[in-house]
């Protein structure tokens, strides 16, 4: 015990002796603020931190949209928590501010934000230096769609198609697939957020670890990340409790929540922010995604859970899912057609613009999936209804249809990250002419 006393004294001393503030400096405010639209050029850019910071002369750099530096060197001020840099007289346009300071505790803190002079400022993800979506982001978005399909579609299948108690091994695999989807939605969501932030901040990995993500978190994309991560954490908890207590009723809120959470992508994507977008385009985008999720996730459950493990349920599950799939395909096609017309104002955009070309690939895959589904619906389903035994190749056929569905999700991921062609400028109406002095 005597040996421990010096250690106890040491711990007590370290706790009692005042020291410097912990952790790195936090950015409390900026001037101009994040994405602020200014009517005239600012004379300086200023950052305010919660504690004193060490700012090197080039701690703040302001770039034009073309990458020209328009800021000077940092001015020493009275308050060590404030860092100020003068800027030239700025012309109309969007500007990117990249900053990097050393906290009192030697942590390097850094970040990026944008502002506009007489124009709307772009989001930090479109700041100067950000390169836009990469192949990695396409891949991550695809994995995210798959995770959504596994959890939302899997729950839908369990609650709408195979409603009663299931054999233990089927139930176990159902929870493995759906639980994997829910955990995947959280992990892949975090990865997607970090990839987007890394692109915006344009920092080496070591510095990025201390990068300020708050300007990204306040964007629509960031808010979607916050809501969806919290939502899927809750879905995970509900799934676990449903499994633990064997109360299927808990799957309903998990199902409703996971389908509603898909709207996070719709509310932060093209359908919400591009010109011409409205509540209707947001709703159509959500319906499109929710239908695809239910369809692909249901197919996976049918092909990988029910078919190999529960022969007694095959017929019922196939017939019920076939009926549901008809409704889902109708919603998918209706909403998809509306969104295509909205985003591609001219038919020739389909083959002349990159976005249209990706859409063409998606349409080809959707046609293949529809043909496959039609074969199941018009050939297999009547045979099963007559009481005939399912043909031997059906399991492989179901796996094939699932694979096409997953491939469609990949193309959809690329499409989501691609930029649609600009909308044509509307001619001024007679009324607006009359109102103009």
């Amino acid at each position: 015990m005597k040996r421990l006393l010096p250690l106890c004294y040491l711990v007590g001393l370290a706790l009692a002796v005042p020291g410097a503030a912990w952790a790195h400096a936090t950015l409390m405010g900026t001037s101009p603020s994040f994405q602020q639209r200014l009517e005239r050029s600012p004379k300086f850019v200023q950052l305010r931190f919660d504690q004193s910071v060490k700012a090197f002369p080039n701690a703040i750099t302001v770039y034009t949209a073309k990458g020209h530096v328009v800021s000077g060197l940092v001015r020493p001020g009275k308050d060590p928590r404030v860092v100020t840099v003068p800027v030239r007289l700025l012309a109309r346009g969007a500007y990117t501010v990249r900053w990097r300071v050393v906290s009192a505790d030697s942590h390097v803190a850094s970040g990026v934000f944008t502002f506009g002079v007489r124009v709307r400022a772009p989001p930090p993800t479109a700041a100067f230096g950000a390169s836009g979506p990469t192949t990695r982001e396409h891949l991550v978005r695809w994995l995210y769609f798959i995770a959504l399909a596994l959890v939302g579609g899997g729950l839908g299948f369990r609650l709408l198609i195979v409603r009663g108690p299931l054999p233990a091994k089927v139930e176990r695999r159902f929870y493995h697939v759906v639980g994997g989807g829910a955990v995947g939605a959280i992990e892949i969501g975090i990865l997607a957020f970090l990839l987007r932030a890394e692109d915006a901040l344009q920092l080496p990995f070591g510095t990025f670890l201390y990068g300020d993500l708050s300007p990204i978190a306040v964007l629509r994309f960031g808010r979607a990340f916050v809501v969806m991560t919290l939502g899927f954490a809750f879905v995970c908890a509900l799934l676990f409790l449903a499994w633990l207590t064997e109360k299927r009723i808990l799957l309903w809120p998990a199902f409703v929540l996971s389908i509603c959470l898909a709207s996070g992508l719709s509310l932060s994507g093209h359908s919400a922010v591009d010109p011409g977008s409205s509540w209707l385009s947001e709703l159509a985008d959500w319906a499109h995604l929710a239908a695809a999720t239910l369809w692909v996730g249901g197919l996976v459950q049918l092909a990988f859970v029910v078919w190999p493990l529960a022969p007694e349920l095959r017929r019922t599950a196939f017939l019920r899912f076939s009926r549901l799939a008809t409704v889902l395909i109708a919603v998918l096609l209706g909403a998809g057609t509306y969104l295509s017309i909205l985003r591609l104002p001219h038919l020739h955009d389909l083959w002349t613009v990159g976005y249209g070309q990706v859409l063409l690939v998606k349409l080809a895959l959707v046609s293949l999936a529809l043909l496959w589904g039609a074969a199941h619906h018009f050939v297999v389903r009547p045979a099963l209804e007559r009481g005939a035994a399912p043909f031997r190749g059906l399991p492989r056929s179901l796996i094939g249809e699932s694979a096409v569905g997953v491939a469609i999700l990949l193309v959809a991921a690329i499409l989501v990250e691609s930029k649609p062609p600009p909308q044509p400028v509307r001619a001024p109406t007679a009324a607006s002419h009359a109102a103009t002095p």
Binding site: A14, V17, G19, W22
Partner: protein
Amino acid sequence: MEPPAEFVHWMFATGLVLIGLCLLGQAIVGDEVWRRRAWRAYLWPGLAFAMGVLMFPVMVFFTNSTIHMLAHGSWAQVMMLAGAAELGLVRGKLHSRYWRLTMPLAFVVSGAAFLIHEQNSWFFARAAFLHHLIGWTLIVGAIFPLLAFFRPRSAVWRSGFALTFVVLGVMLYCDRDLAPVFGHLSPQAGQEHR
């Protein structure tokens, strides 16, 4: 709208102390007495699971650095995992005792997250000291649930496991932002909060 970081630390410190006290009670009176009320068996694993779920808001709302977001995310997930594994075992839904290894795993992952997200050396500041201390306490403390896994009836290992939670809770109470509990911090920290 966000509460100060120190309030969040205190809330989780309270949770850790409660878990530690439950475990200590169980270690002292034994499983048979502890489980005379069926709900008691679910008490500390349920609390650990709930704390894991509640750590997710901390993760997504405190985004002023990537490393803190990732550290909070790792704590959220390992707490949920360890709590869920214990709940599954208590409920009889899980049968393999190897699930109990999720607790030492959670300790090691949490400790590593503490040590990785602290850039400074031990004596740089009080918080740096505490981060190192908490990190190493978690990593060294993982020995208790690990030995309790091999010797489930040993009161020594189980008490050590329980006391590790209590000690971690006390440390987390001290790991505050700028609260002048032991006097105001350096002028570098700005004006006093309260």
